[in-house]
Amino acid sequence: MNEDEAFEYAKTTLKEERITQYSPTEQEVVKSVESCINCGLCIQHCPVIAAVGVNRFSGPRSIAVQLSRSPPEFWSTADVVYLCTGCGTCKEVCPKNVNIPEVVNMIRSRIFDQRPDLVPKGLHIVREVLTKYNLAFEPWEDLEEKIESRDMRLERLGLPYIEDPKLSKADVIFYPGCQAEERSQEVREAAKVILDYFDVNFAVLDEMSCCGLPSVLMGDQDTASSLSKKLEKQVKSIEAKIVVTTCAGCTSNLSEIAERDGWGIPTVHVLEFLAEQIGFDRLKKTFSERADYSDVHVSVHDPCHLIKHTSRQVMEYALAILRSIPGVRVTESKAHDSCCGGGGLVAYHASDVANAVVKENLEAINETDAERIVTPCPLCTAQIESNLFKTGSSVEVDDLTVFIAQRLPRG
C-alpha cells in the first residue's frame, strides 16, 4: 500500500471513529488558532464570562486552545460551546485575531454530526422549524391574523402601509430576515416605507427563506448550505444590484455567503444603504421637512453582527443618521457595544445565561437617562425590550429602522 492508498484507507475509517475532516474553510479557522499566544486577553473582554464567570463558561481561550484540539471527543465540551453567544468580541480584541467564533461553529458542527443527542433540545426544535418551513420561526397559521397583527403594529407606530411591490426584476432586493418577517413585522414594513419614500426600485422575495445563520450556529451545515443555495437562486432571479436587509445577523451572514459563493452582488444593512446610496445631505434635508415629532433622548445599542462581524463603521452611520434628525439627542451608554445575550442561540436552551449577559446593558441604559433605546436589529430589539420590561424600566425600545421610518415626511 503506497502513501496515497493508505490515506484513502484511513479516510474510510473516519466515520467509524467519529472524525469529520476539516473543509478547506475550516482549515483556515484551525490555522488561525495556531497563532494563539495563550495570553488570555479575551477572558477579560468576554461578555459571557463577565455575566456568569469562568467556572460556568470557560471562555474563548479555552475554546481556542483546548476544546478545538480534542477531536474526536469534541462532545466532552458540549456544555461549554453552546454557551457562547458568538458576539465576536474575543476575535476583535485578540492581538492575533484568532477566529474563535468560527471555532465554536466548527465544534458545534462536529457535535451535531457525531453526537446529535448532545445538541441542546431547544436547538433541535429550531432545526425542525427550519427544515420544515425554511424559516427560523414557525409561520403564522392564520394569515388573516398575521395581517391583523401587522396593521396593529403600524397603527401603534404611526406608520403607513406600503404594499409589497410585485416585481420579478428590480435594482434592489429587500430581505427582511425571519424575525422581521414573522415576528417584528413593523421592521419589515418600516424598511418598505423608507425604500418607497426614496423611490427605490426594490423587490421582495416571493417566499421568504432564512439566510441559514441559525443553522450555522447550531452546527447543522447541511441545512445551512441548502438554505443558502435556495436563497441564491431566488436572489439571482431578480437580477438586482444589491441586497438590503434590516437584520444585523442577516447582514453579516449574507455578506459572508455572497462572497463565499460568488453571488456577485453585495448585501448591506439599510443604514449603509441610506448613508452610501441616499447620502447624508439628502437625509438631512428629508428629516428637516418633518416638524411634528417631539424631541427625544435616545441611547443606542450596537448589534454584534454589525460591529464585530461586519464593520464598526456601520454604527458610525447610525449615529450620523440619528444626529441628522432634528430633536434627537443621543447619549452613549457605557455598554453600547456589549452583547445583548441574544446571539449564538444561547437563549433557546440557557436563557439564564442570555439574561445574565444582557444585565450589563440594562444597567448602562438606565444610567444614560435616555427615554428610548434604538438598535438596528430586530433580534437585539426583542431581547433588550423583553428584559427591560421585566425589570420594570420605563425606557422604550425601538428598532432603528422603525425609528427612522417614523421620522420621514408623509404625504
Binding site: Q44, G88, S255, T310, S311, R312
Partner: protein
Amino acid sequence: MDFHTDLLVIGGGMAGLVAGTVATEKGLETVLLRKGQSATAYSSGAVDVIGYLPEASAPFISPEEGLTAIAGLYPLHPYSIVGYGEDVSPEQVVDTIISRTKTAIDWLKEHLSKTRTPLVGDFSSNIYPITILGTTKPTCLIQQTMYPADLEENEESTLLFAGIRGFPEFNSAAAAKTYLEDRVALSLPPRKVAHCEIRTTPFGETLNLSQIEIARHLDHNEGLEDFAAQLKDHTDRVGATHVAIPPILGLRNAVANQTKLKDLLSAHVFELLGFPPSVPGLRLQLALEGIFQESGGKMMVGHEAKSFKLKNGVVESVLAQAPKRAATISAKAFILASGKFIGGGLTGDENGIRETIFGLMTVTGSYHSAEDILPSKSTNRLAITPEGQPVYATGLTVDPNFRPIQEEGVEWAGNLFAAGSVLAGYNYSVEKSGLGVALTSGYSAALNVSDYVKEVSK
C-alpha cells in the same frame, strides 16, 4: 466608505494612542486603526522608562541616569534618536533626550490624572514597586492604586499580603517570604510582614477565579464591603499598617475602592504588580483610549491595515479591512505603531523577520539586516538571562524624524513615521523600558508629523 484625514495612526497601544492624542491636540484630524488589543493592554500597567542597561544587574536610580548611559552607549536606541534632530547641537544631545522624555512623562501623568487610572511617581527617580512574587522592579510611574505610601520608610510599618482563595496567580505566603527576606537583607522597614487568605465569591464559588472577575466584583458595593470586612479581621489581628493585594482592585472604580478600603481598614491598601494580561494594564489601555477620543481623535476598532498606495515617495492611502467591509483612507501623514511580535507589526518565519504592512527594512539589535536571518539565530537557549532574547531588539531603524529608513539610509517614504515596539535597537524586557520607549517615541513622532503636515499644507 473611503475618506481623507490629516493623520492615520496604525496601532492602538501606548505609542499609537499617545501619538494620536498629541497630534490631535496639535490640531491634526486623526484616525487610528486598531486590529486587536496591544501589548499595552497586556502589560502590568506600570510605565517603565529605563531600569537596566543590557547585561547589567544593578538598576538605574533614575531615568535621567539611565538615559545618559543609553545616549552614550547606544546612539541608535529609540531614546537616543530624539537627540539627533537637525536643530540639536552635539553638546545638547543628552539634555535633549532627557528633556523630551521628561516632557512625555509629565504629559502622560497630566493627561491621565482625571481618568480611571491616575499615575504617581515622577521623572526624578525610579521607584521599586512590589510584584505578586514579592520581588521588586524598577519603574518610573505606577498607577495610584499600586502606590505603597510610606511602607518602606516608616519604621513602624507592618505589611500584610492578602491572597484570595481560589485565585491561582498569587500565593501570599510565598510573596511575603520573598519580600521579607529582601527587606531583612537590606535592613530596611517594614520589619514585620504577614500573610492571609480571604474569600471572595464573584459567582458563588471560591475556585478557578480570574483577575477580571474579582476586579468586576469589587466594582460593586456589596463585593467591596464583603472584601473589606474580611480584610479588616486580618488587618486588626496582625496590626497591619499596609495591605498588599493582587491587582484586582476594580476595573472602573479602582481609585475610589482604594480610598474606601483605607477608610474601612485604617490601613493603606495597594495593588501588587501582576502577570500579563493584568487588570491595571487593561485600565491603562482604556484610559489611553479615553484621552485619545476626548481629544477628538477617531478610533476604528476592528480594522486592520491591509495594503497601501505609494506615489511620488509618499504614502497616499491605506486600505483598512473590517471583517466584511473595507475602507480606503488617504492621509497627509501616517504613523506606524503596529507593535512587535504580540501586536503583529513584525513577524518572523524561516525566511527572516518582516514588517507586515509596508514591507519595511528590518534590522537586528546590532543593526544588521534581519530580513533573511532566521529568528532563532537571535535567541538564547536560556529563557531568562541578563542579555535577554536578542530577537526582541529587532525592528525598524528610523531617521531623526522617526521615519523608517531603507538600506541607503534615506527615509522609505516622506510621510511615514514609526513609533513604539516596531522600532529596533532596544530590548524592553531586559532594559525595563517598554512603555517608556512607546510613550517617548509616540510623542516625538507626533511632534514631527505635526511639523511635517504644517509644512506640506502651506
